[in-house]
Amino acid sequence: MSSTKNPIDRKYTKDHEWALREGDIVVVGITWYAQSKLKDIVFVDLPKVGKKVNKSEPVAVVESVKTASDVYSPLSGEIIEVNKELETSPELINKDPYNKGWIFKIKPSNLEKEWNELLDAKDYEKLIQ
């Protein structure tokens, strides 16, 4: 179910990505707020699996009717999986940004340091108010 509430089980960036730990990998998507600003998402340009990325580097692009918007990696590491369902159903990001609308999974290379630099749900709420 879609929710405007930002789940407390994950961290956030000031660029409106979320990052959820699943064992030693991290799932990344964009927040409810980000999709509500973009509206009507029609295409997601997904990164290549195996790509090595730095924290805050643009790795994917979300195209809405209105505009194209970069998605930045919240962490450094290697892209290990992308959400193939978005290729045919990009609107999953609008409908369910925190679950079915995930974008990529990353194997972090500097998790200990970088995880703590991310915002928790409370700080992110303050940012978007």
């Binding site: 509206k39 009507d40 029609v42 295409f43 692009v61 195209e63 009717v65 194209a68």
Partner: protein, 359 residues
């Protein structure tokens, strides 16, 4: 920043929970629910648009016909009462667009110009200064802020029994009422590529009419849906496809007559037709589904840059990226493959003749 002019129908949009946005200095409704659904409603059924931001300028007086005939690129002398020249243009001395407009003949000596929101003040100043220059006195009255303008557009226009007027395209009728609501003018016109009406009323009746039309299950559509629809229909947007530096010939926008007597820009138009143009407007359909061209993207042949995109976006009707742009005339080969550079990657596109969407 100068402050935005709120559309006179703002309160009805806010009631509907619309997201408000900026267009050409106006605060307008951008999206009601979802601009893809809104644009498809027009293609499959009906859509309702607040187009009050468009400029509405009355020109009247005994010189009005002869004056406008020097300003407008089509024959004003032949325009009968109750008829519209749509679209036509006002050109500058270099044959660039001051604006593209429609011209209504309200009375023998009374005309209405409907112009683009972004050019309203410029057009008024242009009319005033040319009237002074030609020594042809006319009364110019800007009625934009005291009126509202509503468009009903869509394939199922016939289903509206209360709008069952026998108005041909390029015609209008004045001072009637729709479901008991008095209106100033209703014309068979629009900017979506579908059949429909545009209605001018005073502001209070505009609000009443908007609410009445919502009761008729007409989907309200925001400015983003309007932009999608006009792009699909291949209509030119001032500031994107046309400007003071673009002439109608390179725009391939046949809104002028060379048969009539003189008007501003005519001699230059004839010269351009004789000499040809270096670049011209084309349509582009993207091959890959995810490639969405945007204003400002560059167009390439195999290796060289040959043009640029002026309007681009996602077409819900085609489920593809579509665009209009200008390219070097040598490369304007309809049907050929070109490439659009989007985020440093070249995406295949086919050069085509708009409209992209046909009824």
């Amino acid at each position: 920043m100068t402050s935005l002019i709120p559309t006179p129908l703002k309160e009805v949009h806010v009631e509907l929970g619309a997201e408000m946005g900026e267009f050409a200095g106006w605060e307008v409704a951008s999206i009601y629910s979802n601009s893809i659904e809104e644009s498809l409603a027009v293609r499959n059924d009906l859509g309702l648009f607040d187009v009050s931001h468009m400029g509405r300028i009355i020109v009247e007086g005994k010189n009005s016909q002869n004056f406008l005939d020097l300003i407008i690129t089509k024959n004003v002398k032949k325009l009968e009462r109750g008829k519209i020249i749509i679209p036509t243009a006002i050109l500058n001395e270099k044959a660039g667009f001051v604006d593209d407009v429609s011209l209504f003949r309200l009375e023998k000596e009374r005309f209405l110009i409907v112009c683009n929101a972004i050019n309203r003040i410029k057009v008024i100043n242009w009319l005033q200064s040319k009237s002074d220059e030609f020594g042809m006195e006319v009364l110019i009255d800007d009625i934009t802020l005291e009126t509202a303008m509503i468009a009903i557009q869509g394939r199922k226009i016939q289903r509206l029994s209360n709008l069952n007027y026998n108005i041909n395209r390029e015609s209008f009728i004045s001072n009637i009422s729709i479901s008991g609501i008095p209106i100033k003018l209703i014309s068979r016109s629009g900017w979506t590529g579908e059949d429909g009406f545009e209605i001018i009323t005073d502001i209070d009746n505009g609000k009443r009419l908007w609410r009445k039309l919502l009761d008729d299950k007409i989907k309200p559509c925001g400015i983003i849906a309007r932009d999608i629809l006009r792009l699909e229909a291949g209509f030119l947007l001032y500031g994107n496809e046309i400007s003071e530096n673009i002439n109608p010939i390179m725009a391939r926008y046949w809104i002028f007559s060379l048969k009539k007597d003189n008007y501003i820009g005519k001699e230059v138009l004839e010269k351009i037709l004789d000499e040809g143009v270096d670049e011209q407007r084309v349509g582009l359909i993207m091959k890959e589904k995810g490639a969405i061209p945007r204003h400002g993207n560059e167009i390439y042949s195999i290796k060289s840059k040959i043009g640029y995109i002026t309007s681009g976006g996602y077409s819900p009707s085609l489920d593809r990226g579509i665009a209009m742009g200008y390219i070097n005339s040598k490369h304007a080969l309809l049907g050929s493959t070109v490439y659009v550079k989007i985020r440093d990657k070249l995406y295949e596109a086919k050069l085509t003749e708009p409209p992209f969407y046909k009824k």
